[in-house]
Amino acid sequence: MDILRFITAGSVDDGKSTLIGRLLYDTKNILADQLEAVERASKTRGDGEIDLALLTDGLRSEREQGITIDVAYKYFQTDKRKFISIDAPGHIQYTRNMVTGASNADLAIILVDARQGVIEQTRRHSLITSLLNIPHIVVAINKMDLVGYSEDRFLEIAQDYQQLAHKLGIKKLKIIPVSALAGDNIVDKSLAMPWYTGHTMLQYLESVDVLNALNLTDARFSVQYVLRPQTEDLHDYRGYAGLVQSGVFRKGDAITVFPSEQTAKIAKIEQYGQEIEEARAGMSVTILLETDVDVSRGYLLAKSDNLPVLSQDVEATICWMDDRKELKVGGKYTLQHGTTRTRCSVRGIEYRIDVNNYEQIEGIATLKLNDIAKVVLRTAQPLAYDTYQNNRATGAAILIDETSNVTVGACMLA
């Protein structure tokens, strides 16, 4: 059994929380006391029926306002797979939260209200999922019960969306007509829409391929910690503990160390103290080298036959996340990439992307909260990276404000 992490994009009005609630409810992942609590809360609010959306609203202020402010995680499982649902708010003022939630998702569910069709918000959510390079996109055309379960309406919206997907280069797309409130095509096949013969939402979530979405081509390893036990029997031991960000490493592989560009061979790979033959993307391991080269936290090891870019000049698509300060050309920040931190300055803003109509707006000097733009950065130390489109693991970086220490930018390197 593996794990699928998915994000739901849409607003409360689209039925996003209801969709998650329905998935949990129909897969029997809601426990008796949790259901009772929701029933109690629904009654207090005077709602006639159980409000499944209340299952995901966590904070007191969210319950009071009936909205989702922050990213919430829900866990459930079926016989086939475990699921981590990432529930992020949908309004434009929470774009940064959606970017945050999307960064770890294998799949995105984009909700469209069948009465409204593809609207500005749909375009915004689709742009974010495509910028974040989420491998699978599912469009849930929701509230089909409110359009008389009309096949024509479904086909009309599906066609509109396909045009949009084409424009954004979204490849793995699935479109499903649903009613989260009534439970149509979420877990059980809808009796009201016999014209739809495809997967239900759950069937699709259970069947998409997660492992294939991992990059197994570019072997990259971020060094987190140098293990030197210095005990009697291990006094020469020097192991580099870290994560295989992508690709596969084997004993005997020739590797190049970044940023120093020294080369060495892998003497041994250990996992939790035991020797293993190969280490693949996503595994936490310890690598020992045949020769002594200078390696410490923040270094990147790559297989020598396939190297990352090494440069101080980096282009990135950035989502600005600071609500107190704007990003300014010339501004200096700490850039965190893998386990490396280096200072960087913003050399220029090439253009800002209008998230609603995808227009590129040039001549911009500052970025505000939730703005998405193409920027040029100059780093103090050369950065070893891959493009985000090719490698989500080594193409991602964050910017940290040097005085407040807050994470202020999400960067997808180009």
């Binding site: 794990i3 008796a32 402010i69 475990k82 910690y225 994560l243």
Partner: protein, 311 residues
């Protein structure tokens, strides 16, 4: 090599959820060790923190765990859990720091809640914050899981706390990809949660797979209990009782292990880890709902405690 190290079974079956969760948790452990100068692991003797200790062992093998285990002792712990704590710290060769809530109460003249359902849960926060200050810990690793409780479902893996130890749910740092931002100023600290994405069943399944010994209270045993409002509390001298409380002897196990004052037991015959896992799979009641009297009090009990500096 200690006994526990020799017992670590080979992992590496790929694509399985426990392996994925383990690799992720170990990555987080190593980020804590790499990013902070003085981390500590908050250890309660409960199954979640026992899981953390195993993960820390694996993360730094063949070396030792490079930070101390810290226990904030309310004085109301189960004796079995305290004994286990001492045994485990010794077994893995980790430094153990214990601070007593009792001492904080005396030193600061704190008023202790009295009467029925009185608990030192809130007071624990004072001792924790004092201990963080005393040792200048900049990071505290905790065993909180997002599936436990709805305020926890919103919390970051690296959760920033200000100089007063407070959590501000509305001003959390964005947490993107696996890039954890542990940058802080002096006096602030970060609570780090490596098993955020684990469920209760994951923890139990991991215990079973790893063959980790657990305190005996997790398994079925006979005990003198107080029957109160449908909950079964272990009887102890320091628990306030009145005439409505009924003392009964029951065959029970504990699903969570917190203070004796606020942890309820479940009636169970499950005396092995396999049988416990089977029961957890079949249960229809959540962990905290069934066993934590402190969370049953208001809908936002945990949110309020966390804002005050609780882990």
């Amino acid at each position: 090599m200690t006994v526990i190290e020799q017992n670590i079974p080979p992992s590496g079956v790929r694509g399985l959820s426990l392996d994925i969760l383990e690799a992720e948790a170990i990555y987080i452990m190593r980020e804590v060790a790499g990013q902070f100068e003085r981390p500590a692991l908050l250890f309660s003797g409960g199954k979640d923190s026992i899981t953390l200790v195993r993960l820390a062992q694996k993360a730094f093998a063949p070396g030792k765990i490079p930070f101390p285990l810290v226990h904030i002792d309310t004085g109301h712990n189960f004796p079995e859990a305290t004994q286990y704590r001492d045994w485990l710290a010794n077994e893995v060769g980790a430094k153990l720091i214990v601070r007593q809530v009792e001492d904080t109460i005396k030193a600061k003249g704190l008023t202790e809640p009295t009467g029925k359902n009185a608990s030192r849960n809130w007071l624990q926060t004072h001792t924790l914050l004092d201990t963080i200050e005393e040792f200048e810990f900049d990071a505290c690793i905790g065993g909180a899981r997002r599936d436990e409780e709805k305020a926890r479902a919103k919390e970051r893996i690296f959760s920033f706390r200000d100089e007063f130890g407070q959590w501000d749910p509305k001003r959390q740092r964005p947490e993107l990809w696996n890039l954890f931002n542990g940058k802080i100023s002096k006096g602030e600290n970060v609570r780090c949660f490596p098993i955020s994405n684990w469920t209760e069943l994951d923890v139990w399944s991991y215990m079973e797979r790893e063959g980790i010994p657990l305190p005996s209270i997790y398994f079925s045993h006979q005990r003198e209990m107080i029957l109160r409002d449908g909950n079964l509390l272990a009887n102890a001298d320091f628990i306030f009782k009145d005439e409505s409380d009924v003392i009964v002897t029951k065959t029970v196990r504990f699903r969570t292990v917190g203070d004796m004052t606020c942890t309820a037991a479940v009636e169970s015959e499950a005396d092995t880890i396999e049988r416990v896992v089977a029961e957890i799979k079949a249960t229809r009641i959540s962990e905290r709902g069934e066993t934590r009297i402190d969370d049953q009090q208001t809908e936002a009990a945990m949110e309020d405690r966390k804002k005050g500096g609780y882990f």
